[in-house]
C-alpha cells in the first residue's frame, strides 16, 4: 500500500440535474504506483479531462474517494484544496500556460512562492531545476522568447518545483512537433524512473504509449479494456492488432501501421525478423 501514490475508488462525476444530468465519469477506480506512468486515452468527450481534474483536486467528485500519498482529498473542504494542489501535484498543460510577464525562472519561482518558499532559496531552487532541464541559458527569457519545447520544459520545471508525488499532464505533446514531443516524453519518463514520481497523462498522442507503463482507455466515463497491441517490425510503432494490416512469415503474424511498412517487410522479411 505504501507504494501507492494516488488512489481513486469508484469515482463518479455528474453534471446537471434531472433530465439535464450528464455523467462524465462513472465509478472509475484507479491505483497509481510511485514511479509509474499511466496514460489515459479515449475519444473526445469521454471524461478524460474531468477525471484528471478530480484526481488533481481541481474538481470534487460527485461520489467516490480519492487519496494522494495516503491522504484523502475528495472530502476536503474547497478552501483546503489549493494547499493540496501546490504540495502534492504538478500540472503540465497543453498550452504550457506560463505567466507571460515572468521570466522562465520566475515562472518556476512563483510556484515555490505559493508553497511558502521565498526569496533567494526559491530563486536558487527554481534555477537549479531549470538547469537540470538544460535551460540554464534561458533563465531570464520570457515565454514569448522561448520555443514550444522550451516552454514545455519550463512548465515541467514548474510542475516539479514543489517536489510533488504526482505529475498530471494534459495533452503535454499536443502543441509540439514530433521531435520536441519525443523530448518531452523522454523527460516525463525520466521524472518517473529517476525521481520516483507518478505521472498521469491524458492524451490522444499514440506515441506516449511507448513510455507508459499502463495505458487505460476511457470511454463514456468508464475504463474499457484496450485492444491488444503489437510493434510494427519496420517502423517500431505500437499498433492496434485489431485494426492494423498484417502479414504472415515463418508461421507467425506481424502487424503494421500502414501498407507501406507491410510492403517493405514482405520485400525482405529477414531484415526485420531476428531470431
Amino acid at each position: 500500500m505504501n507504494n501507492v501514490a494516488l488512489l481513486a475508488e469508484r469515482v463518479s462525476k455528474r453534471f446537471g440535474q434531472g433530465r439535464t444530468e450528464v455523467t462524465a465519469v462513472r465509478e472509475v477506480s484507479l491505483e497509481v504506483h510511485k514511479g509509474e506512468i499511466v496514460l489515459i486515452m479515449g475519444p473526445s468527450g469521454s471524461g478524460k479531462t474531468t477525471l484528471l481534474l478530480m484526481l488533481g483536486a481541481l474538481l470534487r467528485p460527485t461520489s467516490g474517494r480519492i487519496a494522494v500519498d495516503g491522504r484523502e482529498i475528495s472530502s476536503l473542504p474547497e478552501g483546503k484544496l489549493p494547499e493540496i494542489r501546490i504540495n502534492h501535484f504538478g500540472f503540465i498543460f497543453q498550452d504550457f500556460n506560463l505567466l507571460s510577464a515572468l521570466t522562465a525562472s520566475e515562472n518556476v519561482e512563483v510556484s515555490l512562492n505559493l508553497a511558502g518558499v521565498k526569496g533567494k532559496e526559491a530563486q536558487a531552487r527554481a534555477e537549479a531545476i531549470l538547469r537540470g532541464l538544460d535551460l540554464a541559458d534561458r533563465l531570464d527569457f520570457r515565454p514569448e522568447q522561448l520555443s514550444g519545447g522550451e516552454k514545455q520544459r519550463v512548465a515541467i520545471a514548474r510542475a516539479l518545483a514543489n517536489d510533488p508525488a504526482v505529475i498530471l499532464a494534459d495533452e503535454p505533446t499536443a502543441n509540439l512537433d514530433s521531435h520536441i514531443g519525443h523530448e518531452v516524453m523522454r523527460l516525463l519518463r525520466q521524472i518517473a524512473r529517476d525521481q520516483g514520481r507518478s505521472v498521469i497523462i491524458v492524451s490522444h498522442d499514440q506515441r506516449i504509449k511507448d513510455i507508459a507503463d499502463r495505458v487505460l482507455w476511457l470511454e463514456d466515463g468508464e475504463f474499457n479494456a484496450m485492444a491488444a497491441r503489437a510493434e510494427d517490425p519496420v517502423c517500431l510503432m505500437s499498433v492496434d492488432i485489431e485494426t492494423a494490416v498484417s502479414a504472415e512469415y515463418g508461421g507467425q503474424s506481424y502487424y503494421f501501421c500502414a501498407d507501406g511498412c507491410r510492403a517493405e517487410f514482405l520485400a525482405d522479411p529477414a531484415r526485420f525478423v531476428h531470431s
Partner: protein, 369 residues
Amino acid sequence: MVSVARRNLFQEKTRLLISTGGVAFALLLVLALDGIVAGSLAQITAYINNAKADVYVAQSGVRTMHMSASALPISKVDEVRRVDGVKRVEPILYISNFVVAGDSRSLAYIIGFDPVTGKGGPWRLSSGSADLQHREVVLDASAAGKMGVGVGDEVTVMGAPFHIRGLSAGTSSIANSIAFVRMDDFATMRSQSGTASYLLVWLDDGVPAREGARRINAAVQDVGAQTRAEFAHEEARVVRDMTAEIMVIMNSVGFLIGLAAAGLTIYTATLSKMREYGVLKALGAGNGWLYRLVIEQAFWSVTIGAGTSVALSLALSALFALVAPSIPLLIEPGSVAKVFIGAGAISVIAAGIPVAQIARVDPVAVFRR
C-alpha cells in the same frame, strides 16, 4: 518573492501610462487646487506674518482684516502702551480700495503706516524706497507691472494722486495687492484723524504673546487683542470658509477621476490576465493570494500616479513662481499626505471589482480549449 503584480503592471507599458497618467492628472488637480488655496492663504496672511507684531489689537469684536472694518480711538495707543509687558505699539490705518493708473484699476489693501519707524510698512522692496514723503506710495511690484507703472510715476490712491516711491515684493495675492502710504496722508484723505484701524504691539522679551494679548484684553476697554498666530488663523479662516465647499467639490471630482482612471485600467488589466489567474489557481494559489496580487497592482499603479502628481505639482509651483507670481501654488506636506491617503483609498476601491471577478475564476477553465 516574485512580484507578479509589478511584472504584470510593467509588462503593458501603454496601459501603465494610461493608468498612472490618469491618476497623476486627477491628483494633480487636487494638489494644484490645494496649492492655490494654500498659496492664497499665505498671501492673505502675508501682511500679518511679515509685520511681525507679537499682538494685533482691533476694535472689539473684529477678528480679521479681510472683509472687516476696525476703528480705534488713537488714545488706545497709550492705553495699550501702559499695559505691563508691552514694549512698543504702532497704529496703522487700513482700508480696501483701488489703485488707479490711467485706465487700469487694481484692488488693493491700503495700509497707512509711520515711515519714520517703518513698523507695519513694506517688509521687502524690489526697487525704490519706503521712506515716504507726503503723497507718496509703495505699490506691489507685480500690480504696478500689470498697470504699466513704476517708481516716479503717478497713480490715484483713495481718489488722490500719489507718486510711486517704491515697489514691494511678496505683497500681492490672487485677488489683490497691498499699497503702503503715510498714515497722516491716509488720515487726512479719509478724515480719520485721531483713529487707528489696528494697533501692532511688540512685547517685552520673555512675555508670551498669548499672555500679552490676555493682559491687553483685560486692561483696555472695547478692544480685541489676538496673537499674531491667532490673527493670521482667523484671517485665513475667512478665505477657507469661503472656499470650503468648492474645495470639497473639486477634491471629490479629482479623486473620482483618479478612481475612474485607476479602476478602469486595473479592471481591464485583470480581465486580460484572467486565464493566468486561472492557471495560478490551478497550481494552488488561494483567492487571498490573488486578491493581494490585484490590490498590489492597484497600489503600485496609484502610488506611481500619486508620486507623479506630486512631482508635477512641484514643477508647476516653480513654473508659476516664474511666470505668474500673483498666483501662488504652495504645495504643503498636508496636501501631499492627503493625496497619498486618497491614493491608497483609490487603490483599494479600484481593486474591488477585479477582486470580485477573481473570486469567480474557475481553475478548471484552464483545461478547456
